[in-house]
């Protein structure tokens, strides 16, 4: 399957944090051609591509989960009170179509929005526990179909847009997963100089527990985390966002292994892969790299980002070429990352 089709197809499978089962099933199918793939205790998908070799074992990780809402109460008249499961954008949540993953199937619904005709009711964005869903049933009928803890997926459309972009929900971070699949495809018939494990981990949007547990189990000597990063829009700066279509973003951060960051730059240059660099401080990278680096006895970790516009919305957008170039850089790191 080509990169574009894979992005559109894989990101359209539901997988909210803590409930990634469907996405994990799709992931096992996609990964099985490259090695033994299985689901671990926290729901992450682990694919053993090659055993440890020459003292080196690389782990590539991207997160499988996506943001959504969680049912926390069924109210009078059948409205459903929800709470974000991951960083939902409360600025534009009103009037969103949703699918409640209920007891015996999916129920379409709408996030209640206050029309401008009813003024002065609430001039704030809704609080986290004030996001209500209307599935068109009264209380009794709703209670038969919807349970506490059921996930409520935000509906969007997956499509091409402009020249070489794709858009839709969950591209954070299925795009990252696709970069790993791209790398595995490049490496498929090659003799690998090292061990290799691919991980599509769970619960990143709620803390990164999946990646932490998988890293402990895999115990790699080094890891690369692939996530989406902020793409440039008219309301961002050159510092807090990176250009679209200008290639992978290689990160420097206190948590990350500086030699791996430098190695990634050298490999991009050597293999003529376009790239960008970001450097930032603080105690957290805001990605699974935080959990991976500190897992077990510690893992040397690098971080590559795919520039993405409108992160955590139903209109997430990435460049197909950026995704392909991250895949190439990952393959180069597996093949040549151990060389001096």
């Amino acid at each position: 399957m080509d990169t574009r089709d894979l992005l559109l197809k894989f990101s359209s499978v539901d997988g909210n944090s803590g409930d990634e089962k469907l996405a994990a099933k799709a992931a096992v199918e996609l990964l099985s051609q490259y090695g033994k793939a299985y689901v671990d205790n926290l729901g992450s998908v682990i694919c053993e591509v090659a055993p440890k070799k020459n003292g080196r074992h690389v782990m590539l990780d991207a997160h499988l989960d996506q943001i959504a809402l969680l049912v926390i109460n069924i109210e009078e008249n059948g409205f459903i009170r929800t709470y974000p499961c991951g960083g939902i954008d409360r600025r534009g949540i009103y009037g969103t179509k949703v699918r409640v993953l209920g007891k015996d199937g999916e129920y379409p619904g709408i996030v209640c929005s206050i029309p401008p005709h009813i003024k002065d009711v609430n001039d704030k964005n809704p609080e986290r526990d004030e996001i209500f869903i209307d599935i068109g049933f009264g209380k009794e009928e709703t209670a038969k179909r919807v349970r506490m803890g059921d996930r409520v997926m935000l509906c969007g459309k997956w499509s091409d847009i402009g020249n070489g972009y794709v858009t839709g929900p969950a591209l954070d971070d299925r795009s990252g997963c696709v970069t790993i699949l791209e790398a595995l495809e490049i490496l498929k018939d090659k003799e690998l100089p090292c061990g290799l494990t691919a991980v599509f981990s769970t619960r990143e949007e709620t803390g990164g527990q999946g990646a932490g547990a998988a890293s402990f189990a895999v115990a790699p000597t080094e890891a690369i985390e692939i996530d989406v990063g902020f793409g440039k829009t008219p309301d961002t700066t050159e510092i807090n966002s990176k250009a679209m279509k200008k290639g992978p973003v290689i990160a420097f951060h206190p948590t990350l292994d500086i030699e791996i960051s430098r190695k990634l730059i050298a490999l991009a240059e050597k293999n003529e892969i376009p790239f960008q660099v970001e450097a930032y401080g603080g105690s957290s990278t805001g990605t699974n790299a935080d959990e991976i680096a500190t897992a077990g006895a510690g893992v040397r970790c690098g971080l590559i980002s795919i520039p993405q516009q409108y992160m955590h919305s139903i209109i997430e957008k990435v460049s197909v070429d950026d995704v392909k170039n991250v895949g190439k850089l990952l393959a180069a790191f597996v093949m040549e990352g151990g060389e001096n």
Partner: protein, 344 residues
């Protein structure tokens, strides 16, 4: 002859913001022209005026109207990187637009109503509604030149929503305000009429324009019945006293809104008729919004105004909803009014 639901779906999916209603007009024209005894013409304000010949001439000349236009966006500028700036067409709260997908221009290319990611938003920005002028539409162009090949200034954008039945007898979609009213009036045109009536599908309601006033000037009725989709505020987050009207409780007959003091004699008569004929009905609680009656009732020497509305939730957003039982009762009431008001 398409069913009510088929007409509503087609009308909801089509794009027609205020001042650009041609696509909606064509859908209605192509359908109603096949209905019995209907003659349709368009006027200079863009209205579609359908005259339906009845068995006899009425004592009171009767006009029905529903507006064709919907809220949306108009492209006002293309920046050097190919992002589009826009203004709202009609009243739209920014809380329903941030991060939504739209269809832009005649070719309905996809557009993204973008804003920086939430991770880059400061706390006060996160609590307070985003200013619409801080937003932009991304059509995937990498430069101004690339964008100019796809979009012209003045092009419109509408929410990219589908149409779906859900829950107990409900439908969701965009622009149900007032395509639901249009579809109700199309039902009225399907059957043979007792009296001559005129049905107007009007323009520019959402921008407080005068499409309906122009139509009323030409039609010269004695009584005008405006069929609308009005805000039902019967859901959480809306305090009880602001609920306006309820879904599932039948058509909403108004005595007052922000644009019109309705004819009290007709209002009371209609409420009595509903009781007599066992049609559930309600009135509008509180004073909010206005509709085409504002312009119609002041036309010529004055026209007696009536408003019958479908209670609709979440209007002026990507997805509004109505209950089909409310639509059925509204259709029944409108059919009764088409003879009763002619004789009164």
């Amino acid at each position: 002859m398409k069913t009510f639901l088929e007409n509503l779906e087609m009308l909801s999916l089509a794009a027609g913001t205020s001042g650009d209603e041609a696509a909606i007009k064509k859908i209605i024209y192509d359908e109603v022209i096949g209905y019995p005894d209907c003659v349709a013409k368009t006027d200079n304000a863009g209205n579609l005026i359908v005259s339906k010949k009845g068995k006899k001439a009425p004592k009171n000349r009767l006009m029905f109207s529903a507006h064709m236009d919907e809220v949306g966006f108009i492209i006002t500028h293309i920046d050097e990187n190919g992002f589009l700036k826009f203004s709202n067409v009609g009243g739209i709260d920014s809380r329903v637009i941030v991060g939504k997908r739209v269809r832009v221009g005649k070719n309905e290319i996809p557009g993204l109503l973008g804003s920086k990611a939430i991770h880059l938003v400061k706390k006060e920005e996160f609590d307070n509604p985003t200013k619409t002028d801080a937003l932009f539409i991304d059509i995937g162009a990498d430069s101004k030149e690339e964008a100019e090949k796809l979009v012209c200034l003045g092009d419109r954008a509408v929410f990219d929503s589908d149409f779906e039945k859900f829950g107990e007898d409900c439908v969701m979609g965009k622009a149900l305000d007032d395509r639901a009213g249009c579809a109700v009036l199309m039902e009225l045109l399907k059957e043979e009429a007792e009296y001559d009536i005129t049905v107007c599908f009007t323009t520019r309601e959402e921008v407080g324009g005068n499409g309906a006033g122009n139509a009323a000037f030409s039609v010269e009725p004695d009584i005008a019945v405006v069929v609308e989709a009005t805000s039902a505020g019967d859901f959480p987050c809306v305090p009880g006293e602001k609920f306006v009207c309820k879904q599932g409780a039948g058509p909403v007959v108004s005595f007052r809104d922000n644009g019109t003091l309705y004819d009290m004699e007709l209002y009371r008569h209609i409420m009595e008729l509903c009781e007599e004929k066992n049609i559930p009905a309600q009135t509008k609680h509180g004073i909010c919004g206005f509709n085409d009656a504002k312009f119609i009732h002041q036309t010529r020497g004055g026209i007696r105004p009536v408003a019958v509305s479908l209670p609709a939730r979440y209007i002026h957003s990507p997805y509004a909803s109505i209950k089909l039982s409310d639509a059925e009762h509204t259709i029944s009431l409108i059919k009764i009014l088409s003879t009763e008001l002619c004789e009164i």
